[in-house]
Subunit: 365 residues, 2 copies
């Protein structure tokens, strides 16, 4: 029963992201990191049939894969854990909007192949953690197809925005991916952790995860039974899908659409309030994450002093981060559907007030 | 706070298993499979310093490790996932009590080394899933030390028995291990999943899991702060330790001791009732898992017919399994601390009644 609910959800989410529902396979995971790890393992298994039994030493060349410098660092961990080594992770340049450059990706693949390496996967982000940046998904899909790479889209956080019609366009090309990471515990407001790995390649999870030995029960031949441990990195595990199902049953797709519309509207409102208050917005995204700073201020210590004052006020929580080529910024991310206009406006005021205090005392200091 | 509670528990469990409390490091996991997977990754990283960055292809020889045929199959999955391949898993013979043979282990290591392979780890089970068998932990510790192998004890289920003084002797040698897997969601009755990985090698989790890049925050130098994502396979994750802490706070160590004593007593009672009812007991263990069959009956179809009748009665749940060299058996495992004498006695009666029915109809058929 629990397994059937999860199978149903996997198909449903596949459909929401543009896969053929009936052809979608997937598994619930402890979080986005495990989903990304699963993606890497399926990509290796799909590309290198000898990997499951004979491992990396049996491969003719060193496998390498591509991420942008803005991608989630769980891919570095996964590369190490799967025996490719962190050296197998190739970082593709980003453009000024922090989007992976499809041209640089093509060039790197060509050079790496000439150098005797074996490219097998590219990872695009649909909503980076740092700045909510959505990579040019269609262009990367084209490069992946032209080079025979497994194409993974890490939409852990951002993917939910594609459920809303007016934001769907940002995700064009995602439906051509081989696999997707999505975290239901982010915008869907279910408790940690509810990661989801989706793929349109039926059978690849079984080839990746199922243990071939006489001791183990086999999937019931001819029946539509999928033993979860044969299709995921974990063995017996929590019924992660149930809480997602209950939330969807309660809120419905329209409920989530309205939550996502509301949160992106709050993000837009925060952006405009900050601009009005004289701050510079440093990222381009339709998602409710705002990277900003007092215009021209690139001193991390000043930014951290502002963050300390805001966090200590007990009224809001923001942080600092570093953007490639842009330097340090302040970062505010709206993650609660109860965030209202009064909260965004108060945050903008707090930032303005404390910035004046910090910059004033810096001036005096 | 949550991280501090988990750190406290890791030390406490280390102490319970005979490690030096202050020197114990570890992490909570989604379950025993992830803890075993973590053990494999730490063992590789400890043995092959080039593994994290350059992967398996950089290693001079094919790494291999040792389990018994009775060990948990999550090691096969982990071997595949970490790029060694399932071929790297070497199955050591078991004796008639289904315990790993330390002599065979020594011989295999010698042969494999002569064949140009590189042994790096041995896994002992302290309570196998099938039959509750505890490997000769001290003997395996000696072989591991003599050959420079990482020594892992998978005590996912059985480990809790070592908390009770009169059972502790079965686990002698476990305290010499390099790492331990333990599942708090088994005898400690907390919800799935609460796996624990423990090691007495401080720093190895960091070397195995921490990503070295300029983008990531570092552990605060000089402070005793351990960022969980730097010390576990997962990234951000549920606060698994809290439920274990609350359970321990409510029941105390004496509470768990009495639960474990009670369950092992119920296991002993079930064994003797089954013997009285004319059944053959096929496993040797102090743990409450009983493998048995109508004396001399090695026909899996008969055993499965008995299981069906018992399960369909709605009064008990048992299963069949295969024991190496012993063939098929019925298997009853006591996992609920509310199991009382009346339940074990009724199960023995059910088994007797339904066996007579099945054997009778077999006789007529």
């Amino acid at each position: 029963m629990a397994a059937e609910i999860e199978n149903h959800l996997i198909s449903t989410f596949g459909g929401l992201f543009g896969y053929d529902e009936a052809g979608t396979e997937g598994t619930f995971t402890s979080g986005g990191a495990e989903a990304n790890h699963t993606a890497l393992l399926t990509a290796i298994t799909a590309h290198f049939p000898d990997f499951p039994e004979h491992g990396v030493r049996s491969l003719p060349r060193q496998p390498v894969f591509y991420v942008s410098s803005q991608s989630h660092h769980s891919f570095l961990k996964a590369a190490r854990f799967c025996g490719l080594g962190t050296g197998a992770v190739r970082h593709v340049e980003v453009d000024k909007q922090l989007r992976m450059s499809a041209g640089s990706l093509s060039d790197m693949i060509r050079r790496d192949t000439a150098d005797g390496l074996e490219p097998f996967m590219v990872v695009a982000s649909a909503g980076t953690t740092n700045a909510g940046v959505i990579d040019p998904l269609q262009q990367i899909a084209d490069v992946a197809r032209a080079n025979g790479l497994w194409y993974h889209v890490d939409a852990a956080w951002g993917g939910a925005a594609s459920f809303v019609s007016e934001l769907k366009g940002y995700f064009a090309g995602m439906e051509q991916s081989d696999s997707i990471t999505f975290d239901a515990h982010k915008w869907m407001s279910v408790p940690m952790g509810a990661g989801i790995y989706l793929t349109r390649h039926r059978g690849i999870l079984n080839r990746t995860c199922a243990i071939e030995t006489s001791y183990m029960p086999k999937d019931a031949a001819g029946l539509d039974i999928r033993d979860p441990y044969m299709h995921s990195m974990q063995w017996s595990r929590r019924s992660i899908g149930l809480k997602v199902f209950m939330s969807l049953a309660a809120a419905g797709k329209p409920g989530y659409e309205s939550v996502i519309r509301h949160m992106t509207a709050m993000g837009d409102r925060l952006r405009s309030r900050l601009e009005l208050a004289g701050f510079e917005i440093c990222n381009e995204t339709p998602l409710p994450v705002v990277c900003f700073r007092p215009t021209g201020v690139r001193d991390m210590q000043i930014l951290q002093a502002i963050v300390r004052k805001i966090v200590n006020s007990g009224q809001a929580w923001i942080s600092t981060t570093q953007l490639d080529g842009q330097g340090p910024v302040l970062r505010a991310c709206i993650t609660n559907f109860r965030t209202e206009a009064e909260h965004t406006d108060r945050l903008a005021e707090l930032v303005k007030t404390y910035t004046a205090e910090v910059m004033g005392s810096e001036g005096q200091g």
